[in-house]
Symmetry: C2
Subunit: 251 residues, 2 copies
DNA sequence: CGAGTTTTTGAGACCAATCAAGTCTCGTGG
DNA sequence: CCACGAGACTTGATTGGTCTCAAAAACTCG
């Protein structure tokens, strides 16, 4: 298993953050931006497959994804794995650990990853001096809760093909919302094993299910990646409305 | 479908809140307590089966459960229902709606319910003037996220009997932690249909699964209620460690 | 008492898991 | 340059867990 690289020198100043200019994100007060800039202590790079945070660890850090994909998961004692959600640029990583204490899930990089590193012990200063940012963190926690609600609905009440369609439409939409489709054709960097462990299905059945979606021309499966050809089609199969298009905060 | 009763006169002053004396909850600064007291505008009583909040509604309120049980759920377009989580005394209700805007799930009372009603539009004042309380709300959101993570693991990777054992152990522990077992024998006020819609199983298979747990003397099923006889046994079946025993905030 | 839930049980169908190979690609080392 | 092993994806056969259909029994409430 590959390891996280040591924290490298700071590269991107918050004032010139490439994410902050995107329409998707809420504008900041100058004072807030200045604080966030001081809140950030550096950047961390991780390669594909690196474990960023481990279940049970206490020394959790707080990060925001600057670029790349990651996912978080839990294991059962006998090794069965459940992927809980995915992280894309602009998403907070490690909030549960920072707020409550112990991490109860692990986080792994799905692609080369760059993270902004924050000083967890200054979180109280953030809440004290910048209530707007405190509210933003709550907002992001509520957003995560919503995504989990959707996943729960999917695992509990959707059939295999509906679940698969939902997941791929969901990931496609999230990626598109942070501009990942603008540059080139959007490829979701997951293997079928990731899909299986997200949907609660076996790898074999996942393969047969994805195959059906591919036959209908909704997706195309590449090696360790998925290309969505018809989001509308996927959403129709899943009976999913899509994510609400709301401006969101970026810490 | 029964309806929520009109907001009644205030009964319990926050300074004499029966929950606040429990060891489970974190102590408050006097100033915080005073603010919360002014933040609370009254109480709301709901009868069993009443819908407190509806998916899609914008005029969501913010509540804390004072006594009783509730649950939140989502529906698929064709009516399939997934129960997402349960609410017990001390739990916030309607945070997603208050923070983000639109509710994307509904909330229904499982038993006669008393709620503290808060002024949603003073939430920003709370964050501005009482950063500790702002942090507490984030803490509670992170806690909910954790519970959802556990449920997701359950739906995705546990077998039917493991899921059932996990759910009942989980609910038993939560109820015990807010003192519901102290008075009398603890009865979880849910029907097998609720269990089915929580576990993502059919009602028929749920019945057969619960029957197995009852045969092993882990639970006893009463009419529309479950009595847990052996939590340890349930936890062993589920391979579940139990909830961490941490002091938590009470808004 | 009668109507409507809730719980129970059985039978058959179907969806998804497991078992078992087999192909491809890629990277490594002889 | 080729042999080899590890991952990732495919495919078919078989098994088994869960669903649906159907109906009845138990219980609640008005």
């Amino acid at each position: 298993m590959s390891v996280v690289l040591p924290s490298s020198a700071r590269r991107v100043p918050c004032e010139q953050c490439p994410l902050r200019t995107m329409a998707q994100f809420r504008a900041f007060e100058p004072a807030e931006l200045k604080f966030v800039s001081s809140f950030k202590t550096g950047e961390l790079q991780a390669e594909t497959g690196a474990t960023l945070l481990s279940e049970g660890a206490h020394s959790a850090h707080l990060y925001t994804v600057l670029s790349g994909w990651a996912f978080r998961y839990k294991l059962l004692p006998d090794g069965r794995r459940q992927i809980l959600n995915y992280m894309l640029p602009g998403d907070l990583v490690g909030l549960q650990g920072s707020v409550i204490g112990e991490m109860q899930h692990s986080v792994e990089a799905l692609s080369p990853l760059v993270l902004c590193v924050f000083q967890r012990d200054r979180l109280d200063t953030l809440f004290r001096n910048h209530p707007g940012l405190g509210f933003d963190i709550t907002w992001l926690a509520a957003r995560e809760e919503r995504m989990l609600d959707d996943h729960l609905l999917s695992l509990g009440r959707r059939t295999a093909i509906e679940r698969a369609a939902y997941l791929l439409a969901f990931l496609h939409q999230r990626a598109a919302s942070v501009g990942l489709s603008a540059t080139s054709r959007l490829h979701i960097p997951i293997s079928q094993l990731h899909v299986a462990d997200t949907l609660g299905l076996s790898i074999v059945h996942t393969n047969k299910t994805l195959r059906k979606l591919a036959e209908r021309q909704y997706i195309r499966w590449l090696d360790r990646a998925c290309e969505v050809l018809d989001v509308e089609g996927l959403m129709a199969v899943a009976g999913w409305e899509g994510l609400p298009d709301i401006k969101r905060p970026l810490i």
